[in-house]
Amino acid sequence: MSPLDAPVVRTRIARAGWDEHSYYGHRVFADLAGRESVASLLALSAVGRRLPLEDARVLDDIMTVWTVADPRIWPLKLTRLVASYGGLVQGIAAGYLSLDNPFIGVLHVSAGAARFLLDVQQRVQVSSDASDLDAAVQAALAANPRPQGFGVPFRDLDERVPALRRCLIARGRHERTWWRLFEQVWPLVQQQRGLPPNIAGAYAAACLDLGLSPDELSTLALGVSIHVFLAHAAEGAAQQHPVLQRLPAGSVRYAGTARRLSPRARAWRDSPGGTTGGSSPR
């Protein structure tokens, strides 16, 4: 196949021009500049369509509420470790790789949380009949005993959930379909499984109310986390702290195979004239 016959890759994203560029079908300077925010651009980038600016404000709230950045949080500590040699970009890249995990990684957890809510809703229409919802949640939990969006480590309550709730109330968003369902479902999940709601569940509900699909809100989650990784990569790269580059002696306890002699070393040692060193070439 000649290069000219190679398949063409289709993209909806962009093309560079001379005086103007396109981005998801919009003119960057004429249509987007002066009209978009960081959050709305993240949303456009993740889902391929513009959200109304009032919806972008909800994303601002989510991003702010999600700003829990203790350096001991595993992905952030991992970021600092790799950044400790001075590489800010490398720190961010490594930190983001750590999000590719189904337990605490926003990519998977947010999509899973959204799908759980969708599953519950499919099992019953949101109605005033509480018993329908109870049964639906029971059935959904039978199929998925530890749903993402629920479960909080190290504490009884994810403090970010009420914080986001206050923001949604202030914006008049708390009565929307999915948030309302989330608020109805979480006491039932807590009652049936002892799992309180977490920020991934709250995020998923709020984003479903923005019209995002599980895949879209999952992709967007990578964007709304960037600031905390950026903070730690920047500080970590600037500090280049020696203790992160190498932990001090006494920090590591070896629990592996005991010291032993290899068969070749033993054979050499046992050979006539053999010592632990020697000059016989191999």
Binding site: V82, Y85, A93, N101, P281
Partner: protein
């Protein structure tokens, strides 16, 4: 010649080549590395390290240099979980990242570590290139433990039948390893960094994955301690 402004964009106005150039691996009709057939030749007559060194350096090494590189890279290989790259990869394992992501974390950390280590030996590399005088202070042994380690390096090389004249100078452990690689013909920082990563990557991944995934409670979260200070 048409006016470049007629093109749809600046990227369209440039006469780009139509092909990507390969310089090391020829994949047709059968794979070859630096001209040597992989399946009929290299796989039959050479070891993996020799093939990697061929790829990196361009030519097959003679036996002395091959043994010297092997000894130096074995000395370099033992990266501890106390070191940032392995610690980071271990953290990834602890939180259950996909294995491909864990490999990426380890590789990224090791590449950064190697870059930093080689950069810190810039004076050594200049001295090696000049061939004159004593090694810079930054490259000398700092204590008896280092001198003992370099002695063991010399003995390991001697055991393999190789003498590296550069090791007659008073060099620290890591500078001595770089000196051996330099003697063997690997002199560019990117070659030295690549060799260091190659020597350590498998060991790093092995150490990182030596605990169960999702074993957060076994991880010392406060090591090291962090203290918030006013900005």
């Amino acid at each position: 010649m048409s006016d470049p402004q007629d093109a749809a964009s600046p990227l369209d106005a440039v006469a780009w080549p139509e092909q990507l150039q390969a310089r090391v691996v020829d994949s047709q009709p059968t794979p070859a590395i630096r001209g040597y057939d992989v399946e009929d030749d290299l796989a039959c007559h050479y070891g993996l390290l020799e093939v990697l060194l061929l790829a990196l350096g361009g030519e097959l090494l003679d036996e002395d240099r091959r043994r010297a590189v092997e000894v130096a890279l074995i000395f370099a290989a033992a990266c501890s979980v106390a070191e940032a790259p392995v610690h980071a990869a271990r953290l990834g394992r602890v939180i259950g990242v996909q294995h491909s992501a864990l490999s990426g974390i380890a590789a990224m950390g090791l590449a950064e570590q190697a870059r930093d280590q080689v950069q810190q030996q810039a004076e050594l590399l200049t001295w090696l290139g000049s061939g004159e005088g004593e090694p810079p202070t930054s490259a000398r042994s700092r204590d008896d433990d280092e001198r003992a380690a370099v002695d063991r390096l010399r003995q390991a090389l001697e055991h393999r039948g190789v003498e590296v004249p550069l090791l007659r100078a008073d060099l620290g452990r890591f500078p001595a390893l770089l000196a051996v690689l330099w003697w063997a013909g690997f002199r560019k920082p990117e070659q030295l960094e690549t060799l260091l990563v190659l020597s350590r990557l498998g060991v790093a991944i092995a150490e990182a994955t030596a605990v169960r995934p999702l074993s957060m409670k076994s991880y010392p979260m406060n090591l090291p301690a962090f203290a918030e200070v006013a900005p």
